[in-house]
Assembly symmetry: C2
Homo-oligomer: 413 residues x 2
């Protein structure tokens, strides 16, 4: 017997119903905000990913040679492919370009709860604009997608890498030391950070001031020096739009570093606290990748949502996704009535109703049991008595109520 | 600059709109017939495919080793993965199981018109039943999916491998010779077939009789011997349901062999004559794979539709797929009106309308040009004069007509 490869999943109908429902919600929300869908291949030239993330990523992805000797890789994420697509084919399109995607990605990761080797990401890229209203709209979109999926409690935090860099500069921290410091900030290991900064000769007062700023969640309290005045004003505008116009609760968090070096300026994260350690659902911000891929410089920002984790969070909160049903299950009570049953099925199907017919020539008991198992809302029984009256018996599967309905009248159901 | 890998495609928004439209039509038609969607991983253990199709398939697929040394392959088709899934996890589900899928597949093929290395297949498997009404419904479903996509002219042909085998037996053709003959029948090379059969000692009369039967398109004229009487009756029932109940025009074609050795009994193909040599859109039939994958024997049948080719056929026939539009594009006429514009956007978005706001602080001329480029149906202009009246100007992008509408009234648009 064969099994699905380790870390991958098979989705039975009751899982797919949920996934398609969530996918539709996400797609619809993107469209409501004027985003348009694109799609890229499942694999890319390996360099597309090493260029963006460095050679270290090779250890974490599925890479292989095709029969022509090309180095290819199953995509581990979608920003690099989208930027590759943009530079190759979409640079001449009117700006801004608001592009979204929903696609599967692959990582050769240790499988664990909520982490799979094949998983789905939904995200977008906004190319050609980085005004505060554009970034606020982007963040509001990410937030509203998660709310529209059914999530109740999500925390939105916004940081700014330009401000963070200025703080580093102010404290005289070298690029080399930054490499040590950033992961500590990212993981909020503030005690370790304290010790490290002490070791590299930052004064106690300065360290405490730095940690205070990192932990500050209200932008209005941020100490503003000349170098960052403009950036702080921009960030304040983004907060203003989000809080006052979009009515979204959000907090500043300068310790967001996104662990990736192509982000710059404003970055953000959305978390579902109910998921504990695996709570991050969405990350994004302003980034610079287009010139790296050979394109003409243009502002760009985007985000990605972990599709599987977002579903998990909504379910953990108790959200119940709608279950697929079938409108009618038709049971012919003898083989001579099969043709008539199919005829009736076609009348109802032509109206767009979801209809199944018993195909196994089985008794009414078994057929009704099967109808229950596929969540049929109603069954239609067709026997010789019914046919004599040019009618069928319709049975409500919840109440058990039965009524005789003329076949002529089925068109008006 | 990087390019998408050879034989793969990037889909810009105007292509994705079409693809999602077709996908929805297909999904909806499957559901109307009581089928339920499933999904399997993008890659499988290599043996899943070699078991079904033999080792020769390795030359045509993307296979690779993962970092754990497992032999994996990107799926070249979806029947084998679905049967693997069924045997592994769904054998205990109530029968019949009506499962459908829409997914991408991969073949290391020479790229050519309508043939890609990554392509989409839509298909289904019906497990647990093979009554004539079940097979007729399956075939009607395939036909109606293609019609619902927008295709006008499709030819449906139905063959029967049990009948074909009986003909071979009647003519005393050895298994070895069958291997030579089947590809000739498949490609309808009847002249070569004639010569080959002559060479292996079949009499002229018998060859002519055999070719006549192969070319026969009306089942009522089929010469019926005792051995095939039952199978012919079954096939006649299928034709009867399709023609009389489903009103589908279909022809018998015993030369359909599907080139694959796991098919048996009834097989069918649907073609779009407008596509010439690449006309086949759909193939399917009754097959036996479950025991091969270690499952308990159960009747099974299914079909697969070439998604890309079906779209190509509809477009070649002149079908115009709907184009995505945006309901409103909002243009603030000064930066001080940006907040108010977003407020208006949110009123309309909350009604489910597709709304975009100018995010680039540009002049009205450029903004209107952009609105045209993204197919906005209407633009909303917000200037100081409008705001004084608590109103906006709505401009119809087709007629150019403008009207003043109170912001209060936008909720009722």
């Amino acid at each position: 017997m064969f099994e699905a490869p380790r870390g991958t999943r098979d989705f039975p109908p009751w899982e797919m119903d949920k996934r398609r429902y969530v996918e539709d919600k996400i797609r619809n929300t993107f469209k409501i905000y004027g985003y348009r869908e694109i799609q890229t291949p499942t694999f890319e030239h390996l360099q597309v990913f090493t260029l963006k993330s460095g050679d270290a990523i090779i250890d974490e992805i599925y890479s292989f040679k095709d029969k022509g000797g090309r180095d290819l890789a199953l995509r581990p994420e979608l920003t690099a492919p989208v930027i590759r697509f943009y530079v190759e084919k979409l640079q001449m399109e009117p700006k801004p370009l608001k592009l979204f995607y929903i696609g599967n990605c692959f990582r050769y990761d240790r499988p664990q709860k909520g982490r799979y080797r094949e998983f789905t990401q939904a995200g977008c890229e906004l190319i050609g604009v980085d005004t505060p209203e554009a970034i606020a709209e982007l963040i509001a979109l990410a937030y509203n997608i998660l709310r529209n999926i059914g999530l109740k409690n999500v925390d939105l935090h916004i940081g700014d890498l330009t401000i963070l860099s200025t703080l580093f500069k102010k404290l005289g921290i070298s690029d080399e030391n930054k490499k040590e410091i950033i992961p500590l900030i990212d993981k909020e290991k503030f005690d370790e950070l304290y010790l490290f900064m002490q070791n590299i000769g930052v004064s106690k007062d300065e360290i405490e001031w730095f940690l205070d700023v990192l932990k500050m969640d209200d932008i209005s309290k941020l100490p503003v020096s000349d170098e960052i005045e403009e950036e702080v004003e921009r960030l304040k505008d983004v907060f203003g739009f989000l809080r006052d116009i979009y009515s979204i609760d959000c907090k500043m968090k300068l310790s967001i570093v996104r662990g990736l070096d192509y982000y710059k300026d404003i970055v953000f994260e959305i978390e579902a606290p109910i998921l504990g350690a695996e709570k991050q659902l969405c990350g994004g911000g302003i980034y610079e990748l287009i010139p790296l891929f050979g394109g003409r410089e243009a502002p760009s920002a985007g985000f990605a949502i972990g599709f599987d984790r977002a579903i998990l969070a909504a379910e953990t909160e108790g959200y119940r996704f709608p279950i697929s049903t079938i409108d009618y299950y038709i049971i012919p009570l003898s083989t001579s009535l099969i043709s008539k049953s199919i005829e009736i099925a076609q009348i109802l199907r032509n109206k767009g109703l979801l209809v199944d017919v018993d195909l196994m020539r089985r008794g009414i008991g078994k057929a009704l049991k099967y109808a229950g198992s596929i969540n049929a809302k109603q069954t239609i029984l067709l026997g010789p008595d019914e046919l004599d009256k040019n009618a069928v018996t319709i049975r409500d599967m919840v109440t058990g109520e039965q009524k005789l309905v003329l076949i002529e009248e089925l068109k008006n159901l």
